[in-house]
């Protein structure tokens, strides 16, 4: 990372990790071709995944990955907010609680008692919550993992002081623009694309797979109508519940979609 002299005048970027797999912050390193121009325009002051050299706050832009799952997280996120002018959460863990929010549908102490030899050493919260449940967030970038192109768009939008171009419409918009054939209509493959927010570039349907909703609910999801069609395609109630209970299980429209699937039977 550049030294303090080279950093003068450039906006300072920090990347923080909470409960997560690191995949989203790795997306920044995965930028490869664009990474040098990012580093030229931004002083990457705090990014432990990339460098143990740590520059002091405050930071102009903080990217926050992961959900809040421990008492220590509760304290630390307040610190992150205090030292950040702008705070952007990245990835399903940070925006929705992530896959670990499945604990919300069960008893986390029971999990801990099965997994750990000494569960009494484990200090964990009952629920996994998004960052926005604890501090004000300036922008939420969805995905599991996030899309590299969208991450670059969000960073450059914040540098330019403009609104990021991150549409909240369905995956179908991107799917059709990409020229994919609809896997649901042409193959009978169950797909969450119609209720899921765009951003991935319709990656899964491009490989003849159904969308599994990793970008969370789109702006006006009609999951009840989709569920009726998914049942037509042969999905059972447990399958329907499971398809909504993945990375964005606690996002309200997906939570409801799973509950409706259970109550419709």
């Amino acid at each position: 990372m550049a030294g303090p002299a080279a950093a003068a005048g450039r906006p300072r970027l920090a990347v923080w990790k909470f409960a997560s797999c690191d995949g989203c912050q790795l997306t920044l390193l995965d930028c490869e071709d664009e990474l040098l121009s990012v580093a030229a325009e931004v002083d990457i002051a705090y990014f432990l995944e990339a460098s143990s050299a740590v520059g002091p706050g405050p930071y102009d832009l903080s990217l926050v990955e992961g959900s809040v799952t421990t008492p220590d997280d509760l304290r630390r996120i307040q610190h992150v907010r205090r030292v950040s002018k702008r705070l952007v959460t990245i990835g399903a863990c940070a925006t929705a609680g992530g896959i670990q929010a499945l604990r919300d549908f069960a008893d986390v102490r029971e999990f801990a008692s099965i997994v750990y030899a000494r569960p009494d050493y484990i200090a964990t919260l009952e629920r996994s919550t998004p960052i926005s449940a604890h501090v004000p967030v300036d922008f939420e970038l969805r995905g599991c993992p996030i899309d590299k192109r969208q991450l670059l768009e969000v960073i450059s939008a914040f540098l330019a002081g403009r609104r990021p171009f991150v549409p909240a419409h369905s995956v179908c918009v991107e799917c059709k623009a990409r020229g994919n054939v609809c896997v649901m209509v042409a193959h009978g493959t169950p797909c969450l694309g119609p209720v899921t927010q765009a951003g991935c570039g319709a990656l899964c349907p491009a490989f003849n797979r159904g969308c599994y909703g990793c970008f969370g609910p789109m702006e006006s999801p009609n999951a009840r109508a989709l569920n009726a069609q998914l049942r037509e395609l042969g999905m059972s109630t447990p399958e329907l519940v499971r398809v909504y209970r993945t990375f964005n299980a606690t996002e309200e429209p997906f939570r409801q979609a799973a509950e409706e699937a259970e109550s419709d039977t």
Binding site: E34, S37, V38, A40, E41, V42, E153, I155, S156, A157, L159, A160, R162, F165, P167, A168, H169, S170, C172, V173, K176, A177, R178, G179, N180, V181, C182, M184, V185, A186, H187, G188, C191, G193, P194, V195, N208, E219, S220, N222, R224, A225, L226, A228, Q229
Partner: protein
């Protein structure tokens, strides 16, 4: 009009390629008929058919050697006349550079009468007003249209109701009718460019029997429409149906996913996407397909004026079948049936119109 017969499309494809055209025709890919570049007639989907109904599309085996024995495919000509993403301009330190429109020489082989009608609608939209679109004009002028008269309409077709098919009557450079026993193609010319190409390939003059056989193909096809719409007074009747309870009912099944508008050959709405680089010194503006089913589409002052699904469905259907007449003097629907087939929940415009009107 000069009408000739050829036994194979190989000479036609070779001639088009020698004239510098990229020949784009039907192929099979990912379980559907898709437009793609072809270099020989063997790449055409011989013996393949399709089964189409609301929300469902399947390729079928036909047990014959017809290469055009299917109905409308998911691709219309729109992908070529109005590509999904087009760069508009680039600003560099205050200097504006307009992007030069890309206009590849494409020979589109296998467009149907409904597709030609849709192109005529697009021509009216993009070229007929006070502000013609030069990029669209450039793409259209570079494009050669080789129509095929439908022999096997699909389960969601209703071109007869909309008065656009199944026989291509105008708007093509060449129009083919595929005939069997023996397998051959009747070729009609519709333009000077088309006539030049026919002159350059081996053919024989059409006999009376060839012409009668071709007429029979179109006559039979017209009797096999999967759907129909009563268009009598539709413009006024739909405008008067603003408060129909059916809008809320259809909205309960509508995903607002935009698929109907994306596959529609006449839906032309776009938005612009602005991007900046990290230095802030370069900005780019790109035109991208948009849809009246997204909330952003009708965002005014920070929120959508058509927030409900019923308002958005009403807007789309009313525009297609009613206010399009006010705006462009023609119908926005050509009866291709794509919006019915490719709706994931199988909403059928013809059924909705029947219930609303």
């Amino acid at each position: 009009m000069n009408t000739v017969v050829t036994e194979s499309l190989e000479p036609l494809i070779a001639e088009l390629r020698s004239r510098g055209f990229t020949v784009v025709g039907p192929t099979t890919r990912d379980g559907a008929i898709r437009f793609a570049e072809i270099s020989c007639s063997a790449q055409l989907p011989a013996g393949r058919g399709d089964e189409q109904r609301p929300g469902r599309y399947r390729l079928t085996e036909r047990h014959d050697d017809l290469v055009f024995g299917f109905a409308a495919s998911p691709d219309s000509a729109k992908r070529y006349t109005q590509p999904p993403r087009q760069p508009l301009l680039r600003m560099r330190e205050g200097t504006v550079e307009e992007a030069e429109a890309q206009a590849p020489r494409i020979a589109l082989l296998g467009v149907r009468a409904c597709d030609l009608a849709a192109i005529a609608v697009q021509d009216r939209v993009f070229l007929g007003g006070r502000h013609p679109d030069p990029a669209y004009r450039k793409r259209r002028e570079a494009m050669l249209l080789i129509a095929v008269n439908c022999a096997v309409p699909g389960g969601t077709c209703f071109c007869v109701s909309m008065g656009t098919g199944p026989k291509a009557t105008t708007g093509f450079d060449l129009a083919l009718t595929e005939l069997s026993d023996p397998h051959r193609f009747l070729i009609e010319t519709g333009s000077g460019r088309g006539a030049e190409i026919v002159t350059a390939i081996s053919h024989r003059p059409a006999t009376g029997d060839d012409v009668v056989a071709a007429e029979e193909v179109s006559r039979v096809a017209a009797t096999r429409m999967g759907r129909q719409v009563d268009t009598d007074g539709i413009q006024e009747r739909l405008a008067g149906a603003h408060d129909s309870p059916r809008w809320a009912e259809v909205a309960s099944r509508c995903l607002a996913c935009t698929n109907c508008t994306m596959v529609c050959p006449t839906c032309f709405c776009t938005t612009v996407e602005d991007a900046t680089d990290f230095t802030g010194g370069v900005a780019e503006r790109t035109e991208v397909w948009d849809s009246c089913f997204t909330l952003d589409f009708s965002e005014v002052g920070g929120s959508s004026v058509r927030g409900s699904g019923s308002a958005r469905y009403r807007q789309w259907l009313t525009h297609k079948f009613s206010t399009w007449f006010d705006q462009f003097g023609m119908s926005g629907c050509v009866g291709c049936g794509r919006c019915i087939t490719w709706c994931p929940t199988g909403i059928d415009v013809t059924e909705e119109l029947g219930c609303i009107l």
